[in-house]
Amino acid sequence: MRKGARLALPLFPAVAALGASFGVLARTAHLGALAAVVMSATTFAGSSQVAAVSVLGAGGGAVAAIVAALLLNARYAPIGISVAQSFRGSIAKRFAQSQLVVDESWALARGDLGVLLGVGTVLWFGWVGGTAAGAIAGQAIGDPSKFGLDGAFAALFTALLATQVGSRPRVAVAIAGGVVAALLIPFTAPGIPIIAATAGVVVGVRRR
């Protein structure tokens, strides 16, 4: 767990900054500071939270916001199953620990539960703390897109992807997944392209 915490420390300011941007966006969607912090503490999945408040802010209503966010988080079912074997102990313990699974902790851990929990814990505090700061200081910060935080998300996922493409089948799967997502963006609800991209694994299996 200590190794994971050390791995995650460099990510802490970035995650706190992204949390702050979510806090600001939540205010613009008329979500109170407490609601924004509760959402970060329970949902703890950045892109889905930003998607939910953007739908609310655009007047899309609760149902559209909930469906969009849960579609974006549906990937945590296969992600959770892929790391499930490293979890031990009672159901309550595994349930609590499973909440620390996020894209970054899962990608950095590569099956090491201690690393996953260390990264997840550090990022949880950064995310929730950043959200509180952003929600309270919201108006003063202004437009978060001016700070390029949306582009920072894409850059971070690029770096995380780079750690996952060590062999030719994995490169092929990444390309297939990216192409599937790109093709579906115009035709499906947000979130669906990311889920559908899992179909890209077929390319990797065939190549073995």
Binding site: A14, H30, M39, I66, G80, R94
Partner: protein, 102 residues
């Protein structure tokens, strides 16, 4: 209940359950080798999709905007073996700079 709180609670409960499915449902049990191989390949597929969506998607539209500069800076940082926080900082700065110039 307000629209905001309804969304917060429903998304929170749903996400908590989605994250728990694997670790609570199949912990300690070994999956068939073929399934394991398949699940190992889920990582690059989903991360690539996240890169594409976070870079090019604006709702249902495919757009090339300032975020492209952020990804470009991210790629350069990865090639230079920079730590994650440098990647994020460069990605934000490049995106903000291009956006300011437009």
């Amino acid at each position: 209940m307000s629209t905001g709180w309804l969304t917060v609670i429903a998304v929170g409960v749903g996400t908590v359950l989605l994250k728990a499915v694997g670790p609570v449902g199949v912990a300690g049990r070994r999956l068939p080798t073929a399934a394991e191989r398949l699940l190992e390949l889920v990582a690059p597929a989903i991360l690539a999709a996240l890169v594409v969506v976070e870079t090019f998607a604006s709702g249902r539209q495919v757009v090339a905007d300032a975020r492209l500069a952020g990804v470009g800076a991210g790629v350069l940082c990865v090639l230079a073996r920079a730590p994650f926080w440098v990647v994020v900082l460069c990605g934000a700065l490049a995106t903000a700079a291009v956006r300011a110039l437009n």
